[in-house]
């Protein structure tokens, strides 16, 4: 091996083959979405058409409604999680008391707990308190599940901001909130983006929580998508078009933010803490 690993034939071919195999589901999805009458096979679906994408926005499709619900859940959860998370991360980063230290342990512990295991009692008390089938309360629950990880990541970004900068601001008469808002927040914008994108992608894709807590016209796209499973006489092209548009936001967001913040960003916290 040279000082820099040189590209050699065998790994390149093997990796290329893996990439091709991984691409198969997408090829099927995209081809079918643009066919007139797509099926499980690539061939025989009829000519090229954009009508399935146009149909998504027609009155009879459940797309617009469920897409709007997904957006409500994802944006609501992201805004609430990021705000509350950064606010809580600040003292956890700055005041290194014993209590704060245990608090961080609890946060990490909660990060690992299976959310699905608390869905039954959550369902029960949402029914009892009449919070069921409300997008707002679903957002609150999703925020709670996203907060431990978000706060922990935000803390690691705040740790990197030198205290001296803030001390100067305090001398000038800034409050804690003032120095957080005017000095720390502008410096951790990349970190806030990481937290926001991570939260958004998870909330956007979440199926189980809305499946339990929301029904009917409040269902997001993930739950609508589930209703297409195993349906007899299903129009594969129409569902494929739905699937593509629903998949785009997380993919595009990730690509835009990695361009800007740097690759592998979402793992920063998991690896380095």
């Amino acid at each position: 091996m040279n000082s820099q690993p040189v590209a050699s034939k065998l790994p390149t071919v093997a990796i290329g083959a893996v990439g091709a195999i991984f691409l198969v589901p997408f090829i099927w999805l995209v081809v079918v979405a643009f066919q007139k009458n797509g099926s499980l096979q690539l061939a025989g679906g009829g000519g090229f058409t954009l009508s399935h994408f146009a149909d998504l926005f027609s009155g009879s499709s459940s797309f617009v409604q469920s897409f709007a619900n997904s957006l409500y859940l994802a944006v609501g959860t992201t805004v609430l999680t990021t705000t509350v998370g950064v606010l809580a991360a600040y003292p956890l980063s700055r005041f290194g008391s014993r209590t704060q230290e245990y608090f961080v342990y609890v946060l990490v512990f909660l990060t690992g707990l299976p959310i699905i295991a608390i869905m039954i009692p959550t369902y029960d008390y949402f029914v009892t308190l009449n919070l069921i089938n409300s997008k707002f309360w679903t957002v609150c629950f999703m925020t709670a599940t996203a907060l431990p990880f978000a706060t922990w990541i935000a803390r690691s970004f705040i740790d990197a901001v030198p205290r001296e900068l803030e001390e100067a601001a305090w001398m000038d008469g800034q409050s804690r909130f003032g120095s957080l808002w005017r000095i720390v927040v502008p410096l951790i914008v990349p970190g806030i983006c990481v937290v926001a994108v991570f939260t958004f992608v998870n909330a956007w894709s979440d199926f189980f929580v809305p499946y339990i807590l929301l029904q009917g016209s409040n269902s997001p796209a993930s739950v609508t998508m589930y209703s297409f499973f195993g349906q007899y006489g299903i129009n594969y092209s129409a569902v494929a078009a739905f699937a593509i548009v629903y998949s785009l936001p997380p993919v595009l967001l990730y690509l835009v933010v990695t361009r800007w913040v740097g690759q592998g960003f979402s793992l920063h916290g998991a690896v380095k803490g």
Binding site: I15, Y105, G112, L113, Y125
Partner: protein, 285 residues
Amino acid sequence: MVAPLLIIVLAFIGWPIIWTLVLSLTNMTITGPTATHYQFIGFGNFRQLFASGSGLVQSIFLSLYYLVASAYIGQALFGFVLAYMMLRCSIPVRKIVGSIIIICWLVPEIIAAWMWFSMLSDGGTVQQGLHAIGIPYQTWLISHPMISVSMANSWRGVAFSFLLFSAALSDVPMELLDAAQVDGANAWRRLRSIIIPLLATTILVDFVLITLGTLNDFTLIFAMTGGGPGTSSNVLSVFMYQQAFGTFQLAYGTAIAAVLLAIGAVFSVVYIRTLRKQGALNFVR
């Protein structure tokens, strides 16, 4: 400043955890007289759960199968091999394939489930493709449900381990590997004696995180097989759902949830200890 977080987390996570443990000791159901007038029945649900024939043993076995096949082999090992081979791969191929793998991970889980569900169905692309290379024609979701969902989960989740290992491998000093080679260490020896020890923490972190992620996975299996045919892919999370919402035995379902919580808690503690040892939880003082 911590107050909003405390209120939200206590109300929506803390309370449900306590309520899980409380409900698991009752006989609550979704419908019928015990829906509102439930009683405490002690450890009855757990006795029923741990009795033979409850399906718990089968579900634990299936969860372990899913964990080993789709997470340890299909994600961690495969992800490591991919990351290792990518080091010696031409740059355009590396970039393109890396992006494909990451996109598989970003696509909502229910969409991944639908694509695989369709491709493995009768007449689907994978079914046809595997038939073409000499594997007997069959409906995979029925003949081999666990292989089907494990394949889908590896496809979807390998990116996480791959990214983790790629980042760690790029930190391994090349001089060290060169020196070892000069001293006569072959590729396997360099991997075993240098790379794996240097990546020990990353490997542990990866294992803990994918274990938690896989044990908590519900959507993929629920959507693709619903736990079936019969109960042949009824992993713990789906088993819990079936009991609570399928047969309406809410309290019995929470007993299974309590088992899931306990398993999750053990791995969470392992995770905290790993991070502590690594210094990731240290305070800047």
